[in-house]
Amino acid sequence: MRPSFFHHLHPPTIPTEQARWRHTLGAGGTAVFLMLILGMTGILEMFYYIPTPEEAALSVQTITYHVPFGGFIRNLHYWSAQLLLIVSAVHLLRVVFTAAYKSPRRFNYLLGLALFILAILLDFTGYILRWDVDICYPLLTGTNLLKTVPFIGDFLHRLAIGGGEACTNGLLRMYVWHIFGLTLPVIILGIWHAFRVRRDGGIAVPPPQVRTDNARISRNELVRREVLAMFIVGIALILLSIFVPAPIAAAMTEGTTLAGEAKAPWFFLWVQEMLKWGDPFIFGILLPLGILALIALIPYIFPKPADSDIGKWFPKSNRLAQITIGLVSFIVILLTLLANAN
């Protein structure tokens, strides 16, 4: 039989260590599962969602309150999106803490980072699609922030919302970015990322010479574990979606922006907090991009982890990378809590 993409990702046997929960935390696989849910529920929402300023918020209300199972579908979409960001962050931390980014996996590390950024942008554009009173300030400040970039600011602003003022204009652009402009790259990079995992020799584990456990598990066992993980995450999603509804607010009409939420969506609260410190371009764009660049450079300019340490939790030889990513996470969480407190 000709091997399919499924067989490429599921070889006849793999080392037991590569498939241990405590080794991978199952985070990457969970992210794939969440993206599949997002794709399916997103397409279902498109049957009712109307991307015009007059009707968008009303159509979300229709989905939520009138369409049979509409509220449930919308909640699934919302909760998968929020969980995706958390799971992707956990996945990134796992990769750094187990020194799994070392060459030949350097390039795939960058692919993964790009996917994380795209997921954040998808979450933001999706949130904007609600087009209710609560989305106005985040959209306005976010797009005005783009304008502060020297030389290309106006260009970026038009690219994002197609000119005009945020909150009266921009919905159509946000919609097309959400369902196509950002989703298509996610699909392409996502498939590439998964393909590279196997190409680079599977999940990073210590090389065979220093491996203590040489047991292997079969394809069937691997699939069994994947299905089990999907089942658990699926149950969690269903429970969340039944008991905790996605946020919704009144439709925007002229002059109602004053009543809107001034807080950014939770994953951008840390940037909102930094914006209070001074020049918007420096604190809102350069600093976040600098942090991103630092994370991207870990496999390239940080001390190289020893070969025998690859795939072990918290090995000595990549301490600097662990401390860096740990500090970044700590600061981002701290800023988020600060912004949320006031």
Binding site: T141, R158, G163, Q272, L275, G278
Partner: protein
């Protein structure tokens, strides 16, 4: 000058052609995506009769948003759009505060607390022959 073989030349030409096409296509795509239609944003606001705003009054006009001030010296209008990133300011006892990143302005529109650095904009005002007030945001 060193001779280059026909094969190398063709390879160079082929690659040059490919990269050039890719660059042109990308440039065109970006220009295509960055078109901004002429703004339909309202820039002229009719605020009604002068008599509605007695001397000493400070009236909030949410649709602009702005504050119309009638002092002894005449009418002025202060934009209530925060000069930091554009949220709408909320009036308080000392002046105005921004709900987004805590900038504050005094009653004359000067910055009293960052991150904003520019003072609030004064809007152009016109009083027509029929004694109605028009404010312009451009």
């Amino acid at each position: 000058m060193t001779q280059i073989s026909r094969r190398d030349f063709l390879k160079l030409a082929r690659e040059g052609f490919l990269y050039l096409s890719a660059a042109l296509a990308t440039g065109s795509l970006l220009r295509f995506l960055s078109y901004a239609p002429a703004s339909e944003q309202k820039t002229e606001f009719d605020l009604g009769s002068v008599d509605n705003y007695p001397v000493g009054s400070r009236t909030s006009i949410p649709e602009i948003p702005a504050l119309l001030i009638h002092a002894e010296s005449g009418f002025t209008a202060l934009s209530l759009t925060c000069t930091h990133l554009g949220c709408t300011l909320e009036p308080n006892n000392n002046g105005f505060a921004c709900p987004c990143h805590n900038s504050a302005f005094d009653a004359e529109g000067n910055v009293t607390q960052g991150p904003a650095v520019k003072p609030l904009r004064s809007l152009r005002i016109q009083i027509t022959d029929e004694n109605t007030i028009i404010a312009y945001t451009d």
